[in-house]
């Protein structure tokens, strides 16, 4: 399995990628349209960026997470306060979860959506969902606040 497939399978659903249109360049993966595929040669960035491999770990893009939203089973919807805290890098407490879809089991991966069903990132289920509201329920692994960190890093 390709790294993006392995990553996607952790969310409990099946997501089919067409390998014909996925290009790997410098350990980064891009999904190209047929027209872009005909143009691709020595590019810097192309099509939909899916993620990268670094030190043996796959780092997904937000494009990939968005593609998974409609397809995979594991996702939670969080309230507005938890959404804000989440994109600030904080974990999700049980009290912030308003809906659970798919796995509730500790250790599984889940997407985190805001009240508009927009994907804010993903995390690991830290404690079986549906239990205590006072504990960390989702451990934040990646959130859209990452774009701000990238801007800061590029300025430095």
């Amino acid at each position: 399995m390709k790294p993006y497939e392995t990553f996607s399978s952790r969310f409990g659903g099946h997501f089919a990628f067409n390998p014909e249109f996925i290009i790997e360049k410098s350990r980064r993966f891009y999904l190209l349209s047929p027209r872009l595929k005909r143009m691709q040669s020595n590019f810097y960035y192309a099509g939909l960026y899916l993620g990268k491999m670094k030190d043996g770990i796959f780092f997904p893009s937000f494009n990939l997470l968005n593609m998974l939203v409609d397809e995979v089973a594991n996702k939670v919807v969080v309230d507005s306060k938890a959404s804000w805290l989440y994109i600030c890098g904080r974990d999700v407490f049980g009290s912030g979860i308003v809906k659970i879809m798919g796995s509730r089991h500790k250790g599984d991966a889940t997407l985190v959506l805001n009240e508009f069903r927009e994907c804010l990132g993903f995390g690991w289920i830290a404690d079986d969902l549906g239990g205590s509201t006072e504990k960390v329920a989702i451990k934040n692994v990646l959130d859209i606040g990452d774009f701000l960190h990238r801007e800061t890093r590029s300025k430095e």
């Binding site: 143009m39 590019f43 960035y45 099509g47 939909l48 960026y49 774009f147 590029s154």
Partner: protein, 310 residues
């Protein structure tokens, strides 16, 4: 002809401040200097934000916005309780922060969806994302930029806004021919000397030597782009410079040397200058638009076409 030398003839740069020099220069071009009141602006990404009631969502966050009358997706930020560059809506790619006048060039193309588009000086990608949005992510956009660090920022911008029809190369626009492609639409938002609006240090930093150097580079990029333009194709040229060497004089040069014709455009601003320091320019140059700083930064934009061979 080096026009600035002529413009300098009646004043001694050594004896006046750089600011006064440029203010006098603009007066000779027909504009009286006044302190601009440039307003922060955003552009709603129509594809990403479709059906999401973004203006209402922003208002609920304490961001008061006002529609820019001459832009279909542009809004001025009148007041805000939060940083508009750090909201969830921004990070989700529902809108971009883009200066008002800078939102104009991409809107001037005719029939963008499905076309092969070149964004010749693309990074950091604000206009590329806007083009992709106007194309509904159809067709292709080829983005070029010489600066790899800026391309990194551009890649983040494309990812944030979920752009899927763009391919970017770390290639100098002066070597665009190397791609061996013809494009239906070319955006030439060329590197320029900028302007003083929103840049406090501009007057003390810029010299006419910079202007001359930039104008020369712009001509090389322009000539290269013209060879990559398909017959019947369109070029939109823009700068945020107020110096005629980078604007009307380059348009005059393009009409006379690149076989392009200038088209009338529906755009704010005043007609392009057709006489600069006594030099008469091609009458078509009047179709370009010069936007003096006021609520927007200073800007210049012109649309040119390569007519199909009969």
């Amino acid at each position: 002809m080096i026009v600035e030398r002529f413009l300098c003839a009646t004043c001694n740069v050594e004896l006046m401040s750089a600011k006064q020099f440029f203010i006098d220069r603009y007066a000779k071009l027909g504009w009286t200097y006044k302190e601009p009141q440039v307003r922060q602006a955003i552009r709603i990404n129509q594809v990403s934000a479709m059906g999401k009631k973004l203006p209402e969502r922003l208002r609920s966050l304490g961001v008061e916005i006002e529609k820019v009358p001459f832009l279909s997706a542009g809004y001025w930020v009148n007041s805000t309780k939060v940083s508009v560059g750090a909201t969830a809506e921004y990070l989700l790619g529902l809108y971009s922060i883009q200066e008002t006048a800078a939102q104009i060039p991409a809107t001037l193309f005719h029939a963008l969806p499905g076309k092969n588009v070149l964004d010749a000086c693309a990074a950091p990608g604000g206009k590329t994302v806007q083009l992709a949005d106007l194309m509904g992510n159809s067709g292709t956009i080829t983005g070029l930029d010489i600066n790899k660090q800026r391309l990194s920022a551009m890649a983040n911008h494309l990812e944030r806004c979920h752009i899927s029809n763009t391919i970017i190369y770390n290639v100098d626009a002066r070597q665009a021919k190397l791609l061996n492609r013809k494009f239906d639409r070319i955006l030439l938002d060329v590197p320029c000397s900028g302007n003083f609006a929103g840049d406090r240090g501009w007057f003390n930093r810029r010299t006419l030597t910079d202007v001359e150097r930039n104008a020369d580079i712009q001509k090389v990029i322009f000539a290269e782009a013209a060879t990559c333009l398909a017959e019947g194709g369109e070029i939109v040229y823009s700068t945020c410079s107020l110096e005629p060497e980078e604007d009307e004089l380059n348009m005059d040069w393009a009409v006379k040397n690149l076989g392009l014709k200038i088209q009338k455009i529906d755009c704010i601003g005043s007609d392009g200058l057709t006489e600069v320091a006594g030099k008469k320019l091609d009458a078509q140059v009047a179709f370009s638009r010069r936007i003096w700083p006021d609520r927007t930064q200073g800007f210049f934009v012109c649309k040119l076409i390569k007519e199909p061979c009969s």
